[in-house]
Amino acid sequence: MNIPTNLKYTRGDEWIKVDGNIATIGITDYAQDQLSDIVYFEFKVDAGESVSKNAIIATLESVKAAADVSTPVSGEVTELNEALTEKFESFNSDPYGEAWILKIEMTDPSEVDELMDAAAYEKYIEEREG
């Protein structure tokens, strides 16, 4: 399981990359593995929209299940990865790269402190694997 150490993680299996005030959000390798092949993806927010922590930003479907993607941080959506709506197989092939979902300009960067680092996330996966 690929868990890059430069990212932060949520209990909902999203990853977040922080660059100054800008947060990039996606779903983890574990999430795509559990979901299996993604067959549908849709944004639930627009660029320019203000979102609060835990808001649903996107929804995706695999042959097994549908899942919502939430943002762990509040702020303004600055950019959507529009290419994803055409090419959602990148969720499965490159979850941390090509399959970034959107960027948010954070209004409260301290929200990031509540998230897990790679080691904690790995432990959290192990707990669920039983």
Binding site: Q34, D37, V39, Y40, K64, A65, A66, G130
Partner: protein, 488 residues
């Protein structure tokens, strides 16, 4: 191709039925309504009969074999239901007939409403909703109408346990409410502490399935409904799993304010392709005035000699009409027949045997598959289709079961269980059938260790092998011809 489509079998000029020459003047359609782009297939009567007979032989149904599809209650549909529904007095009436001429039908609907009230502990029932999801939607609209009627307009949040059927959040979202998930505790119950922290004066209520989709009776249900009521919310009961409670426990006595029934699950009317469904809704006394119109009632009391006159009544604060005419009347006839055939004691035995059968299967399978919430189950239970030390998935186990001539259980639901396999045998299966299924499951668990490829490439002896679900979901072809393919 296993069986060509009927379009592929078409041969230009072939005719099934020759109509006699018209003996009245022709009345052609106005030219603007005519179209040339509809290539209807041309076949003989025998071609058509063979085509559909072939297709029907490829089908799987409860009449063919065991169908343990969790939460769907795929019980046997007794043939006597069909005989009753085909009685001319039921089958040949029209919903617009004067009520004086359909008193028997109305009496049946009235009595079915009364019986559902007695079974559920609810005060009033509508038979209108088309199926369970519409029943939920009706229930949620009633919740909204109730709060609004009290001037309480700040309630916008619907609490829904994370093990709920997907239709619960869908019905809530469709009604304009925000869905707030409630976690499950480690015994499979609603997490009480989490529930308490979520309950305030902004909640519409809670949508609860009991027993839940893990097949577990919520041990704290009275506490759960009390907490929601104390916050001013209402409790909606998803009746999908009512089969486990028949004649034993009544949701109305547990504090539920609203409940939908699935006649096509609990009351043996056809389910799936054989439908349509039917999703009556029952409500507690304080919500009776909000039911959709019309409900069947007595409009003129009878005497000892003269029966009462049944008719349609509009509840005074009704949320309105939600279905044309009077719901799926034919399903009401079948459910009425089913309840009549069993009677009071018989209904209880349905629940007892449904629960016994599920626990028997769980006991046989417990040592072969991981059981995430392992306690006495109700009418269904959930295994993990993830066997330690193997690479097989729930889907592979499901597909392999088809080779043993069993319909697969529900898989990948509920979402709170990894690689879920949700098994509901129902009360109508014999011990021999249950044993045959358990033997197959145990054999598959063994195969998963010794020949995993056998599972991963299953099914092997079915009309079609493993389907490409990703391609099917991504490349939708919903039409076998395109208008531009057809010469004008």
């Amino acid at each position: 191709m296993l069986e060509p489509t009927i379009y592929e079998l078409s041969s230009p000029g072939r005719v099934g039925v020759e109509f006699p020459a018209p003996d009245v003047p022709r009345a052609p359609l106005p030219e603007e309504l005519e179209r040339q782009d509809l290539p209807l297939p041309e076949l003989s009567e025998l071609d058509v009969v063979r085509h559909f007979t072939h297709i029907s032989n490829l089908n799987y149904s409860i009449d063919f074999g065991f169908y343990p599809l969790g939460s769907c209650t795929m019980k046997y549909n007794p043939k006597v239901n069909e005989a009753a529904a085909r009685l001319p007095g039921f089958a040949h009436t029209h919903p617009l007939q004067p009520i004086e001429t359909v008193q028997g039908n109305l009496a049946l609907m009235f009595e079915l409403q009364e019986w559902l009230k007695e079974i559920s502990g609810m005060a009033a029932v509508t038979l209108q909703p088309a199926a369970g999801a519409q029943g939920e939607y009706v229930g949620v609209l009633i919740m909204r109408a109730y709060h609004v009627s009290r001037g309480d307009r700040k309630r916008t949040k619907m609490l829904i346990p994370d093990s709920a059927h997907g239709t619960n959040p869908a019905s809530s979202a469709m009604s304009g409410f925000e869905v707030v998930p409630v976690p499950t505790d480690n015994r499979g119950n609603v997490d009480l502490e989490a529930l308490k922290s979520l309950c305030d004066d902004t909640i519409v209520g809670l949508m609860l399935t009991n027993p839940n989709t893990l097949g577990l009776f919520d041990e704290n249900v009275l506490e759960v409904t009390r907490i929601v009521h104390e916050a001013g919310g209402l409790v909606y009961g998803d009746g999908a799993n009512l089969n486990a409670l028949l004649g034993i426990g009544r949701p109305g006595d547990m504090g539920f304010d609203i409940l939908h029934f699935n006649l096509h699950k609990t009351f043996s009317t056809p389910h799936g392709g054989g439908g349509p469904g039917s999703g009556p809704v029952g409500v507690a006394a304080h919500l009776a005035d909000f039911l959709p119109e019309p409900v069947v009632g007595i409009v003129e009391e009878g005497t000892e000699e003269i029966p009462p006159l049944y008719g349609f009544i509009r509840p005074i604060k009704s949320i309105g009409r939600i279905k044309s005419f009077h719901g799926h009347f034919g399903m009401a006839v079948r459910a009425y027949t089913y309840i009549s055939m069993y009677g009071r004691e018989g209904l209880r035995s349905i629940a007892e045997h449904a629960v016994l059968n599920a626990n028997y299967l769980l006991a046989r399978l417990r040592d072969h598959y991981p059981v995430p919430y392992d306690r006495i189950c109700m009418h269904e239970f959930v295994l993990e289709g993830h066997l330690p030390g193997t690479e097989v998935h729930a889907l592979d186990i499901s597909k392999r079961l088809m080779d043993y001539n069993f319909h697969p259980p529900t898989n990948y639901f509920p979402l709170v269980v990894r690689e879920a396999l949700m098994i509901e045998p129902t009360e109508t299966e014999s011990k021999q059938t249950l044993d045959a299924f358990a033997d197959a499951m145990i054999k598959i668990a063994e195969e998963a260790k010794t020949q995993p490829e056998l599972l991963r490439s299953a099914p092997h002896n079915k009309p079609v092998s493993r389907l490409d679900e990703v391609k099917a979901a991504k490349e939708l072809v919903l039409c076998c011809w395109l208008p531009e393919d057809v010469k004008a």
